[in-house]
């Protein structure tokens, strides 16, 4: 039902990684939903596709876990928007998850081998 074009060079997010990315995005301060999606897409050079259908439930989920909190504010264009902010609990979780993620990437990298360099 989503209407995004699924061009082949874009990578669909792994389950669970979206949460991590959202938390990571929020480390620079308050952001609204559209901003979060945009930031993830831009920072990954448009390689990652954020399905809006997953974004809002994810935000909802994180809010429920009290890793982020939200309040209504005004955007740079004077639009009313709901801004999300990292909580102390969320920050702790982010650190822990980031370390875990790095270890996972290293381990997977070791198995997959070094032949392809980063580009």
């Amino acid at each position: 039902m989503s209407t995004q074009d699924s061009s082949s060079e874009r990578i669909a997010l792994l389950q669970g990684t979206l949460d991590l990315l959202i938390l990571r995005t929020l480390i620079f301060g308050k952001q609204h939903g559209q901003g979060i999606a945009r930031t993830i897409q831009q920072t990954s050079d448009d390689a990652l596709l954020v399905d809006h259908g997953s974004l809002y439930p994810a935000l909802q989920r994180l809010e429920a876990k009290r890793w982020i909190q939200a309040e209504w504010g005004v955007s740079e264009n004077n639009r009313k928007a709901r801004f999300y902010e990292l909580t102390a609990l969320g920050r702790e979780h982010l650190v822990r998850e980031t370390n875990q993620w790095r270890r996972l990437v290293e381990a997977v990298g070791l198995i997959l081998g070094p032949e392809k360099s980063e580009g």
């Binding site: 039902m1 989503s2 209407t3 995004q4 609204h32 939903g33 559209q34 901003g35 945009r38 399905d51 809006h52 259908g53 809002y56 439930p57 909802q60 989920r61 429920a64 009290r66 955007s75 264009n77 639009r79 009313k80 928007a81 709901r82």
Partner: protein
């Protein structure tokens, strides 16, 4: 998860999405120079299906289940309100199915299957004499003599213990209350210990209370009687009650819920067999070896089966059969009778359910009624399924549309589930309310036998209630939810586009349901026709004499302290007093009340030149002069009895008789009946000495079905210790009642008038089975037909709507309008006809089951069957008419344009 439940309203969430789209649009305008409209559209596209996201947001809310339940409930109520007629019919169908099944089954269970509230009812057995018994009897069922009981009790290794019992009617009085007729259960000493029941107060009777005749004036009250007459006062122990004016001391009260062995004749009091002469007004020699008056029960010894018991009793019983003819009082019998007597066996029958006269009478009608209610439950379920399917199918496109707009499948299904559940709940609740009312209605048909109330209560049988509720609720849920599951899972675009084809699958199923409904309705309609005709025939035929303004009541002088010898003069005084009343046109007395289903039967010996014994027992009665005139049954030959046909001290026994026309035709051939002599009894030493002086027109005495040969003797010549008075009143019998009561009270205020009622009322009681079956069958048939019509109409209306376009084309191409409508009517009639065609062989198979309850009509009565079939077909036709009219009045242009 355990934080405070900060619920976000979904309005808040929509706002967030709107803001997201706005910000994205702003960005597109700023960064890519789009026009604001294009930007907004692009942003929306990029975001995807807004409703779907909102839905998913909604479902992530942790209070969702409760909220969606409430929403579903509101939605369900809304939906049910949009079609109040359908909702009402579904609820009523469920209520009726559940109510009727539960009520009838609960009654049938109590009346037919329920075991006695005693210890290990499975070990209780009753003994039944199977063969020819020689000797007089009194009572009903498997009657045995006291002698047989006494010897049986001495057998070893079969029974833990044995007791005998006999119910008798008596008048009970106490300090606290006046005289009232009750049932007294005469029991031998081991009654309570063998049944294994414990007293509520005081002690129960035991063997020590059953030793010397007349020496143990002790009584045990039933718990129910104790509650109603003594207010449950434990100080009743030691008090004196009078049974037929003889004083008994109350020694205890039976346990709660224990009502003796017969639910149709519940005793108020138990007395020991040693006191039977005092407890029974008829003052007979019950301990005589010949007279049978007892039911014998035993509790099987541990580990002994019924079959083993029967085998082990065999030698003892053979010895009894050998010894019996050598006993004093053995009458002269024919060799054939002797052979039959010697060939008798003693059967050991299961008796955990006790004994019941009424049970035998109502078992068959009850089972028929039960089968009918089963059909009604099935029919109700079919109807509910049909209507629920109709609703779901009609809503199918709306459901698909909702799916497209983003409602999740789970949500759609759960909403339907809630709606169906609500329906089921309402239906079941209504059924629960209906069941006790129906039970009381059926109970009202069952008469009480003699003075006791029957023990059947309006308590619902919980397992059956659960079964009926379960079946109904399941039907409602399945038929409501299954189409919703299908509708929600089909690809929405297809569902919206599709018109007739996919829906036709559901329609086919609904047609099958309607056919089944018509089949069931036909079976019930034919049964209703047969039972109504049976009742009608019996009612219009009547007993053979006019029953209007005819009152009947009984008096038992010995209950008020008169001796046997004083009884007949008292009865004559009462009769003379009644005849003198201005309200009374005529009055007479008969020894035995008529039209009660019971009788006094004896074989007669007829002294034609060669002596003839009637092959079966003849119902007898002793009647006063003027009896036939009071009834309005003419004497066709000879004369009535007169006051000279009376016994005084110098003469003994009966000398005159009147027989009915049936007797004359059957036994006297063409001979002149007058002057023929008859004798009471069928043994070779019976001497025909009673002269036939008259022939009366035949009327029904015992019951209404077939006329029986009958003989009457003069009441004033017979022993008359009580009698049934028949009073033909001038004007309404209601107004004469009080005058009659005060006339009797003038003679002796302590005389109880027993069971005063009109003979019409007596007929109603006699016809209780027929009335019960006819009334319920007609009610069920009407309901069934109505449900079938509703089902068919619904299907036809749906089918007509579906074919609107086809009709439009036909009419546009020049087909006459009636032809378009004709298609619908033809389909309706053919569905009804298929139902009828299926039902006919089914009914043919069931017909034998009904036969025994019918009179004046065969179970496969062509007119009734054809009438019911035609009626249903016409009804089917009318169910198609309305949709047909709508179909034929369709505007072809509009029809083609629609959809």
């Amino acid at each position: 998860m355990f934080g405070k439940p900060q619920r976000r309203r979904d309005e808040d969430f929509s706002e967030e999405i709107q803001s997201h789209i706005q910000i994205e649009a702003d960005r597109l305008i700023a960064e890519e120079g789009m026009s604001s409209a294009a930007a907004l559209a692009a942003a929306r596209r990029a975001f995807g299906n807004v409703t779907s996201h909102r839905e998913r947001f909604y479902e992530s809310s942790r209070w969702m289940w409760l909220d969606s339940f409430l929403r579903g409930g509101r939605q369900a109520v809304r939906q049910l309100r949009t079609s109040p007629a359908t909702t009402a019919i579904i609820i009523l169908s469920l209520a009726l199915g559940i109510g009727a099944t539960t009520a009838i089954f609960s009654l049938a269970d109590q009346a037919i299957w329920q075991e006695l509230p005693i210890a290990e009812p499975g070990r209780l057995v009753q003994l039944d004499w199977n063969g020819l018994y020689i000797g007089p009897g009194r009572g009903w069922g498997s009657l045995m003599s006291y002698e047989l009981y006494r010897e049986l009790r001495e057998t070893d290794g079969v029974f833990e213990d044995v007791f005998a019992r006999a119910p008798v009617g008596a008048v009970l009085s106490s300090e606290s209350g006046g005289a009232e007729p009750v049932i007294v259960e005469i029991v031998t000493g081991a009654y309570f210990s063998t049944l294994g029941v414990q007293p509520a107060v005081g002690r129960l009777l035991d063997d020590s209370d059953d030793v010397n005749r007349g020496g143990h004036p002790f009584a045990v009250l039933s718990n129910a009687y104790w509650q109603s007459r003594f207010g449950g006062d434990p100080r009743v122990v030691g008090k004196t009650i009078k049974i037929n004016t003889y004083p008994f001391t109350v020694i205890g009260v039976g346990p709660k819920g224990f009502q003796g062995l017969d639910w149709s004749g519940v005793p108020a009091v138990w007395v020991p067999a040693a006191m039977s002469a005092q407890a029974d007004v008829n003052n007979r020699d019950f301990f005589n070896a010949r007279e049978r008056w007892l039911h014998i029960f035993g509790r099987l010894a541990d580990g002994v089966s019924r079959e083993q018991a029967q085998t082990r009793l065999e030698p003892w019983f053979q010895a009894y059969l050998e010894a019996d003819p050598k006993r004093e009082g053995w009458p002269a019998v024919t060799p054939q009778q002797m052979r039959d007597f010697k060939a008798s066996t003693l059967d050991v029958l299961p008796a955990g359910r006790g004994v019941s006269l009424l049970r035998a009478r109502i078992e068959q009608p009850m089972l028929i009624l039960l089968a009918a209610t089963g059909l009604i439950l099935l029919l109700a379920c079919l109807n509910v399924a049909n209507l629920s399917l109709a609703k779901a199918l009609a809503r199918r496109r709306a459901t698909a549309l909702r799916a497209v707009l983003g409602a999740s499948r789970r949500r759609i299904i759960s909403e339907q589930l809630i709606e169906s559940g609500l329906l089921a709940l309402l239906g079941c609740a209504a059924g629960l309310l209906l069941a006790p009312a129906l039970m009381r209605a059926v109970l009202a048909f069952l008469p009480t036998l003699g003075p006791s109330e029957n023990a059947l209560g309006a308590d619902l049988h919980l397992e059956v209630l659960a079964f009926a509720v379960g079946v109904s609720a399941l039907t409602t849920l399945l038929s409501g939810v299954a189409p919703a599951i299908y509708a929600a899972s089909v690809r929405p675009a297809a569902a919206i586009k599709e018109q007739s084809n996919a829906v036709a699958g559901g329609l086919g199923f609904r047609k099958t349901l309607v056919v089944a409904q018509f089949a069931l309705a036909l079976i019930l309609l034919i049964s209703a026709g047969l039972f109504a005709q049976t009742l009608g025939t019996l009612r219009t035929q009547g007993p053979g004499f006019p029953t209007s303004n005819l009152l009947v009541f009984s008096v038992e002088p010995q209950g008020a302290g008169y001796s046997y010898d004083e009884s007949k003069p008292l009865i004559r005084r009462i009769l003379a007093r009644l005849e003198a009343l201005p309200e009374v046109q005529g009055a007479a007395v008969a020894r035995r009340q008529m039209l009660t289903g019971g009788s006094w039967n004896v074989q007669l010996t007829i002294g034609l030149p060669q002596q003839v014994v009637t092959e079966s027992s003849i119902p007898l009665n002793a009647v006063s002069p003027g009896f036939f005139q009071t009834l309005g049954a003419p004497i066709t030959l000879g004369r009535d009895f007169d006051d000279h046909d009376s016994r005084d001290d110098s003469r003994w026994g009966l000398s005159k008789a009147i027989v009915n026309q049936e007797f004359a035709d059957k036994y006297l051939g063409g001979a002149d009946p007058l002057g023929v002599r008859i004798g009471i009894g069928g043994s070779p030493d019976t001497r025909p000495e009673i002269e036939i002086v008259g022939v009366a027109a035949t009327f029904r005495d015992r019951e209404l079905r077939d006329p029986e040969p009958q003989a009457f003797f003069p009441a004033w010549e017979s022993g008359l210790d009580g009698g049934a008075f028949y009073v033909r009143t001038l004007g309404s019998s209601q107004t004469a009642g009080p005058a009659i009561r005060s006339a009797v009270a003038d003679i002796d205020p302590s005389l109880a008038i027993l069971g005063m009622r009109t003979v019409d009322d007596q007929l109603d009681r006699l016809l209780m089975n027929e009335r019960m079956l006819a009334t319920s069958a007609v009610a069920f048939a009407l309901v069934a037909t109505l449900l079938a019509v509703i089902g068919l109409h619904g299907v036809m209306a749906f089918s007509a709507e579906r074919r609107t376009k086809e009709m439009g084309i036909r009419i546009a191409l020049g087909a006459p309008r009636w032809q378009a409508g004709g298609l619908i009517v033809r389909e309706a009639v053919s569905l009804a006809t298929i139902g009828v065609a299926i039902a006919l062989p089914l009914f043919w198979a069931l017909a034998r089951f009904l036969e025994s309850q019918l009179f004046g009509v065969r179970s496969l009565d062509a007119i009734t069957v054809a009438g019911a079939a035609v009626l249903l077909t016409v009804v089917g036709l009318s169910a198609g008419l309305l949709p047909a009219r709508k179909a034929s009045s369709v505007n072809p242009l509009q029809a083609l344009r629609s959809e």
